[in-house]
């Protein structure tokens, strides 16, 4: 069993503002992240998969297929976009890095079987870094 991890990067803007709270409460809760004009980050996303190494090819997965999946599901819709305004999921939930990680895993999981059919590699987990000082992990 081998685990393979690939890092991707995207830049996006967001604003943290909970619909059920007042302006003052949102400011108190989210601080600078509540700035009405929004702000952005250079996110780093690590996607891990695990599986058996094919005896002939020596590979656990087709990395180009993983790249295509992440490009279609994450990079194209998110990179250089405003998460609140342009990603439907964040019209109804706050684009914290926690929620962003959950959205990314959901997107990858929805197309995983199509990308890696049969007894191919499984999604092992993702790690999302918002800045160099904080990151969030989901382990499958």
């Amino acid at each position: 069993m081998i685990r393979l991890t690939r890092r991707y990067r995207f830049s996006a803007s967001h604003r943290l503002d909970a619909a059920g709270l007042s302006e003052a409460e949102n400011r108190a809760l989210y601080g600078k992240c509540n700035n009405p004009h929004g702000h952005g980050h250079d996110y780093a996303l690590d996607v891990s998969l695990r599986g058996h190494v094919d005896a002939e090819s020596g590979r656990v997965a087709d990395v180009a297929a993983l790249d295509a999946l992440v490009r279609e599901q994450v990079l194209e819709p998110f990179d250089h976009h405003d998460l609140n305004a342009e990603v439907p999921a964040f019209a109804v939930c706050v684009p914290t890095t926690e929620n962003l990680a959950l959205e990314i895993r959901s997107r990858l999981a929805s197309r995983w079987a199509k990308t890696f059919p049969g007894d191919g590699p499984v999604l092992d987990g993702i790690r999302l870094q918002e800045t160099k000082r904080n990151r969030f992990e989901l382990l499958d």
């Binding site: 069993m1 393979l4 690939r6 190494v53 020596g58 590979r59 656990v60």
Partner: protein, 138 residues
């Protein structure tokens, strides 16, 4: 407790299967199938599991670990063309996956002890791509 030591080496390789055509190899391995080869700055991270020995306060002698990595991995592979100069990659495709398994095979006998065991081998092919092998079934 887990103890991790890192080592680096630079080497060239090519990923191709002899029974496939150029087009088929390109479809399977992409740019890595270029028959002339290409290179990477590899980094390996070797993790040992064990408890600190009460007297020395160490899980494993880091100097000894460094020497094992140097002798078994860095010296034979640094600035080499893996397919041509480093068995078993004359017959086995030197993917990052196979490299991690081979590093494990080379170092594991030198790291086992009554209180320690090799926990994992991580091979970075680039800063954005790495594999982990924890022993057992490939």
């Amino acid at each position: 407790m887990l103890l991790t030591r890192r080592a680096e080496f630079s080497a060239s390789h090519v990923c191709r299967l002899a029974r496939l055509s150029d087009e088929e190899n390109r479809a399977l391995y992409g740019a890595a199938s270029n028959p002339h080869g290409h290179g990477h700055n590899y980094a390996i991270e070797v993790t040992i599991e064990g408890d600190p020995e009460p007297e020395t306060g160490m899980v494993f002698d880091l100097k000894r670990l460094k020497d094992v990595l140097q002798r078994e991995v860095v010296e034979p592979m640094d600035h080499r063309f893996l397919n041509r100069e480093v068995p078993p990659f004359d017959t086995l495709v030197p993917t990052a996956e196979n490299l991690a398994i081979e590093v494990w095979r080379r170092i594991e006998p030198h790291l086992a002890g009554p209180r320690v065991r090799l926990h994992g081998v991580r091979v970075y092919e680039t800063e954005d791509l790495y594999v982990d092998y924890f022993g057992g079934q490939r």
